[in-house]
Homo-oligomer: 145 residues x 2
Amino acid sequence: MNKDKLAELQRQLRLAGLKSTKPRYIILESLLNFPRNHFSSDDIHGIIPGANPHIGIATVYRTLSLFEQMGIISKLDFGDGVYRYELKRPDENHHHHHLICKHCGSISEVEEDLLDALEDQILRKYDFVVNDHELKFFGLCKNCK
Amino acid sequence: MNKDKLAELQRQLRLAGLKSTKPRYIILESLLNFPRNHFSSDDIHGIIPGANPHIGIATVYRTLSLFEQMGIISKLDFGDGVYRYELKRPDENHHHHHLICKHCGSISEVEEDLLDALEDQILRKYDFVVNDHELKFFGLCKNCK
DNA sequence: GTTGGTGCAAAATCTTTGCATCTGG
DNA sequence: CCAGATGCAAAGATTTTGCACCAAC
């Protein structure tokens, strides 16, 4: 399955006239194997084994930014001064929502969208065409409440 | 009306055992007069007349952070690496939503909330108690679409 | 061999902190 | 007076950039 993603990356890079390099493979592999759903550039840089050709933090930033443009990952902002990314699910056209526990800091995901009615209303009332949204709920998770 | 807000600040500060100082007055006055609804620390620092006792950027950061704790303003994050604030409306218990135009960068506000159904569902399904939310819509405003 | 990619270090940006000094109560 | 607030500069933290070198194609 990871093999598939790596081959897919190679295909997409070639298609865009870009090079498929070792750092790009290693970074994709690292984020696929990352234990949490959300990761920062530093998270990824931190888990890359040092034995590989050494990968600089600048390359991680550049590569994650590239992956975002390619639609492989999405950039997230939980308001703590560090940008994070998550793997994009191929069947999603909108971002899902996040539940952020103010006590323990855990982040979980909401499958339901349910914003269609609101988006309709926004189009009608404000004449604003919504392409995407980002919704965060702050509160207490089941363990902390 | 601004007089009212200044007097109210003085009252709240006294109540909390804090000092009502000139920089705090000047900063409150500056954000009340700021031409847009959303402002960064640097925005506020930039419009303070130089003739006053000179106010350092650190004081602006500290004061806006204090005002946030006091419930006068809310911290916002539009994902561009700069934190902004907005005046809190006394009748709002939840944050309102924002429309962010990807073309011209304009930010407008949505009055409707309409998340109650979703919040109910989150409580039932995820056992998560929502205290607050933050919803941003990205797309094209009426001038840019 | 080109063109693009990488590593490194320096720079840029935003925010926080330490500390001597000042000031409101 | 004294606790808290301020100004300044330095330090932190995160992200971006310039440039010589390296590696895909």
